[in-house]
Structure formats: C-alpha cells, structure tokens
C-alpha cells in the first residue's frame, strides 16, 4: 500500500513536488529564524549580564533611579560588609563589585601638555586579585587586540578604536579626568598597557578598563562601589531564582525610605530585558504555532486544489468500492510522506544557513555606531538541539492537518451520483 502511494507521489510530481517545496521552505525559514533569534537574544542577554546587569544586581535606590548617568555620587558604601552578607545569604551567587564612571582621558605630549583627549566610559573591575573571575567573565583575555592585561596598579586597558583615535602607543601615560564620588574634580595617571575589542559597539567606542582598586583611589571611593553584580556560579541565568533572591533581599532592607539603602534587581528587571526574556522563552511555542497555522492554511489550500484535480481519481476509487475512510487515510499517508521529506530537507537547509550565520555572523556595526545598547556588533545565529525539531514536527503536522481538512470533502461525495459525475 505505502509502496503504491510512494510510486504515485514520485510519478505525479504535481501531487508531491509543490507541497514538498512549500514545506521545505517553511521548515527552513523556521529553523533559521529560531536559530537567529535565539543567537541574537542569547548574545544580548549574555552581554548585558556580563557588562551591565549581572544575573542579580545590587545598587542603592538612588543609583538605580539615575543609572544611565553612572552616578558615582550615589554609590554603595560599606561594600565589604555588604559583600560578606550577600555571600553568606546566597552562596550560589558570586557577587563582584564594579564601578562604572565617565570622564575625559587626556594624553600628554612630551612637555606634559594635552596632546589628545577623548571622553571615556570606564569600568573599574577586579583585575588584579588572585583568582579573580572577572577576566574570564568579561572575556577580556580573548578581547585583547594589542598589548597585555594589567599586571600591577596604575595600568589600564582602553578600546582599540579609542587607542587609534588618540594615536596612543602601548606603555604611554594617560590621565583620567573625572569626578570623585563626593563631586570633587579628580585627575589620575594610568599607563595604557593594552587595547581591547569586545564586539559590542557601546563598549568599543570609548571603553576604559582598570583595576577597581585604582578606580576607588581615583574617585575617592574607599570601600564603595557603584554596583555589586551577582552571577550564578554555574554561569547560567536562572530567572525564577534571581527574582526570588532580589525579592527576598529587598524585603529585608532596614529602612525602605532611605534612598541609599541597597536595592537588588534581577536581570529581567533591568535594561527592559524582561520582554526579551519572555520572547526568548516562548519563542519556540510562538514560532511553532505561527508555522503550523500559516502552513496548514497554505497546505489546506494546496490540498483543496489537489483534491479538485484528483476529483475524478477519488470518484473512480470510490466507485470501484474503495471505502471513503481508506481513501482519506491514503491521502493522509501521502501527506505525511510529503511532510517528512519536506521537513527533512527544510531542516537541513535551515541548519545549513543557521550554521553559516553562526560562524560568519552579520556585521551591523555601522548601524550601531551611536548605540548605547549592550548588543554585539556582529550578530550570530546559534544552533541548539531545539533547532533540529523546531521546524520538523510542525512541518509534518501542518501537511497532515492541511490534507485532513481538505480531505473531509471525500465524505461528502454521494456514491449514487458518482457514475453520473464520471459520465460528464
């Protein structure tokens, strides 16, 4: 029976080729879209977590309100004690202090006068403590374009683009002009020992990275930090757990009316990431539903047209005594076969395209020049186990569903009128 049906499919291309092509295209697009969106959103969430939000972030309430301005004057104080409390209460999370600051980086000439200067968006990070996890977390080692990591106090990294703009050689002195956390003006000398490129436009434009101890000294922030970023020790973001930690921590705050008490926020509650997380989480369901609905409608339509074309054939089969249910089932088997072939080829093509975009990516750097979003300037797809079935199952289902809907007409045929119909 199946062999008979397959022969029919192969010999009558109008019955198989076009539906299979439609399924192939639909499945390929679904796989590509899922891999692309998954890759882009995953990268965005990872970049945000690493550079800006952590999995959980603790700042003062006042700092959280004005976060975009990097208000060092609203920083957390007594950070040593706060870190101990956090690690004691939430051992599954590693909290690290960071200071984000703005300023002017001034490059002197031989006489010590200003030769070049440019605004910088800096981060004070734990770069020098033995066993620091920050270098790996921010992938700084692999992001170095020239030079090396800071190895002693007073050394700093700047973005490679900024280094070219300032025409600065490695080992050159540079002075950071900024504000202390008390509002005073501060100048601090650094030696630039390396340049970095993270592939994130917002960072690569004018980033400066220095050890947090140096930044504390420069900005007069003894035992203070702009923010404490918490990362789950397994490196993965656990949304429900992060939200629970933030709620529990905030519930234990001493004086909620004091704008300088610490406030914990999960990643989802920062940088409008909740929507992205929701889309990322429900993406498979959304894609599958849309795919099945749209493809079913298309294939239903195709099957109806096919049904009209095969009106005579079905009539003859019924007239010869074949049961309606048998005819209906045979059409379903045909469609499942078409769905399987189309879905297999479509998944293969989709994975191939996704792999290309995973390896080579799409450079949107030119569009991101003035962006402050933590978005990679090269966007990449990411193939996950889900990519292998996200299009395949809906591909087969929609073909079968389309045929099932159009095939209902078989049951409306009146046996008594078959010969009359066939005579015409």
């Amino acid at each position: 029976m199946i062999r008979f049906l397959l022969k029919g499919l192969l010999r009558d291309r109008s019955r198989s080729l076009f539906p299979a092509l439609v399924v192939t295209m639909g499945v390929a697009l679904t796989v590509l879209l899922q891999s692309w969106m998954g890759g882009v959103m995953g990268d965005m969430i990872r970049s945000n977590a690493a550079f800006a939000t952590g999995h959980v972030k603790v700042t003062t309430w006042a700092f959280a309100e004005n976060e975009a301005q990097n208000p060092t004057d609203l920083a957390l104080l007594g950070v040593g004690d706060l870190l101990s409390t956090l690690h004691e209460r939430y051992p599954e999370v590693e909290f690290v202090p960071r200071i984000r600051f703005g300023g002017l980086l001034d490059i002197p000439d031989e006489q010590g006068e200003t030769r070049e200067q440019a605004p910088v968006a800096g981060q004070g990070i734990d770069l020098l403590s033995p066993g620091t996890t920050e270098i790996a977390r921010l992938n700084i080692g692999n992001s170095i374009v020239r030079g090396r990591l800071p190895q002693k106090p007073g050394e700093a990294l700047i973005s490679d683009d900024l280094a070219h703009k300032l025409d600065i050689a490695l080992g050159s002195p540079a002075t950071l002009l900024s504000s202390t956390m008390h509002g005073g003006m501060t100048m601090h000398n650094f030696t630039i020992v390396g340049t970095v490129r993270f592939g994130i436009a917002a960072m690569d434009r004018g980033a400066m990275l220095a050890d947090i101890a140096d930044i504390r000294q420069a900005l007069d922030m003894d035992d203070a930090a702009g923010e404490l970023l918490g990362y789950f020790r397994d490196g993965q973001y656990h949304d429900a757990e992060a939200v629970r930690i933030a709620r529990e921590f905030n519930a234990n705050v001493d004086d909620p009316d004091d704008e300088f008490v610490p406030l914990a926020r999960a990643l989802r509650d920062q940088n409008d990431l909740a929507e992205y997380l929701a889309v990322a989480r429900h993406m498979a369901a959304i894609l599958s539903t849309v795919f099945v609905l749209v493809m079913s409608a298309v294939l239903w339509n195709l099957a109806l047209i096919g049904g009209l074309r095969r009106y005579g054939e079905v009539g003859v089969r019924l007239a010869m005594g074949e049961e309606k249910g048998h005819v209906y089932r045979s059409l379903l088997i045909e469609s499942v076969a078409i769905g399987l072939v189309g879905s297999t080829i479509g998944t293969g093509i989709g994975l191939g395209l996704a792999w290309y975009l995973q390896v080579h990516g799409l450079d949107i750097g030119a569009m991101m020049e003035n962006s402050s979003m933590m978005l990679p300037s090269v966007m990449r797809a990411r193939i996950t186990p889900q990519s292998f079935y996200i299009g395949f199952i809906p591909g087969v289902l929609s073909t079968a569903l389309g045929t099932a809907l159009s095939g209902i007409g078989i049951y409306r045929r009146q046996t008594a009128q078959l010969f009359k119909e066939l005579e015409t």
Partner: protein, 257 residues
C-alpha cells in the same frame, strides 16, 4: 555755577531716563529706566577690570554638604586664575581660563589638562556652577539685549524685572531674567535659560555690601534645576575690586608654581 551745571545735568538725565523711547525696552512699565541703561549700571556694579576674591563654596549634595575654598584672580570678562585651598584632596588644584580655553592643574598627577568647548559647561567640583559660571565675569550689556518687563518685590526690595536675550548664539545662556534692585541697581535674583527657553539655573544674590561706589552680593545661591540637591552657596570671604593683579599669574607657568 558748577553746582548749577550738575543740577542741570541731573535734571536732564532724569527727564531723559523717564522719557526715552521704548527701543530695546519695548513696552516698559511707566517710569522705568531704559533697559540698556539699567544693564550698564548692573555691569558697573557687578563687573570689574580686575578682581581678587577668596570664596567658600558650600555644595549641598544628596549625601550631605561639603565645602571647597578657593582664591581667584580675574581680569576683564574672560581671564581668570583660581587656586583651591581646601579640602585637602583638592588643595593645590589650579585653573587658568584664557578666553574660551581652560587649563586645570592637579598636583597629585603633576599634569595640566586643557578643557574647552562643552567641557566648560560641566560642573565645577560637583557644584551647581559650571566652569564658565565660576570663571567668567560677563558684561551683560555687551552680550544681551534687554527689555524691562515689570516690577516685583523680592524680599523687601522693589525690583525691575529685566528680560535679556543674547545678541549671538554662542553664549552659555541664551536668555536671562533678572530682578534688579531699583535702588542699588544690582540683581537680587537671576534665572538662566537655554536656547529653547528651558530654565537651567536659578541664582539668588544676598548680603549686599557697599564696596567703594558699588553694591556687591557677598553670598549667592546657585541652583542647577536639572540636578537634584539643594544647590550651591558661594560665600565671598574677601573681595578686592580693580586690584593690581600681576600679569604672570594668567599664564600656564603659574599653574605649576
């Protein structure tokens, strides 16, 4: 004869004062002097050829107040030199302003850094004053056209209200509103606006003292309305007008001394 001449001149001046056509002053209130004349008198009180001041700046931030002390020397509208005396972290920091350029020297780094352009509009030491506010001594009559728009009483002082509009676009504040004490002809309140009419700063001037022929405020409160906080008080401890200021002080070499 001399007394008669003075009296005649005074009479002519007062008639002229009351009867000048609206001109710049537009529809000025009855009896109001011309806005230009008022502005020139304000300048005569507030501006000086040279000045040496010792001041205390009390900056009321969100976490508390802190005090910065400085000594400044200025000459003309846009030449100035300031040395910070306290607190310890800021002590020895010096600033030199020549025209639209400003150099800052920090003893901790032994570096002199030049600031220009928009950087001059940044806050000085976290205060509500910008570098331009701090170091410029503008001649308002040269920069703005004025209009007397009404009269108001500020505190117990009857004032003219002046609306100033910049003659050119390249100024820190495109327009200003001044409340000028009718008797002393000094501003007691100022509002500074951006190009599109947005209020940027509010200044209250108090504790007027007569120094020679001029009245001068010894205490000013600056409030940057775009910043939270209670503003910055500038208290003048000492002030000397038209003092002899050595030329060499307005040089980059003086920063390192």
């Amino acid at each position: 004869m001399k007394a008669q001449l003075v009296l005649a001149l005074a009479t002519f001046a007062s008639v002229g004062w009351a009867q000048v056509p609206a001109g710049e002053s537009g529809s000025k209130p009855q009896g109001a002097p011309t806005a230009r004349l008022l502005l020139e008198q304000v300048d005569a009180n507030m501006a000086a050829e040279s000045r040496i001041t010792t001041a205390q700046m009390i900056i009321h931030g969100r976490r508390g107040a802190r005090t910065v002390e400085s000594k400044s020397w200025s000459r003309g509208a846009d030449t100035g030199f300031t040395e910070y005396l306290a607190p310890a972290r800021e002590k020895g920091t010096k600033m030199l302003k020549l025209g639209d350029r400003l150099w800052v020297y920090s003893p901790a780094t032994d570096r002199t850094i030049q600031l220009s352009g928009h950087m001059l509009r940044q806050s000085v030491m976290g205060s509500d004053l910008s570098y331009e506010d701090m170091m410029d001594d503008p001649r308002l009559a040269q920069i703005y056209t004025a209009q007397v728009t009404g009269t108001e009483t500020v505190g117990d002082r009857p004032c003219w209200v002046l609306q100033l509009t910049a003659k050119e676009e390249d100024v820190a504040y495109q327009s200003r509103k001044l409340w000028v004490d009718k008797e002393r002809v000094v501003p007691v309140r100022e509002e500074l606006f951006a190009k599109r009419g947005k209020l940027l700063k509010r200044i209250e001037l108090r504790d007027f003292r007569k120094t020679g022929e001029r009245w001068y405020p010894m205490r000013m409160t600056f409030k940057d309305v775009l910043k939270r906080g209670k503003g910055t008080e500038l208290v003048l401890k000492e002030i000397e007008f038209d003092a002899k200021v050595p030329r060499h002080i307005f040089s980059k070499a003086a920063l390192r001394r």
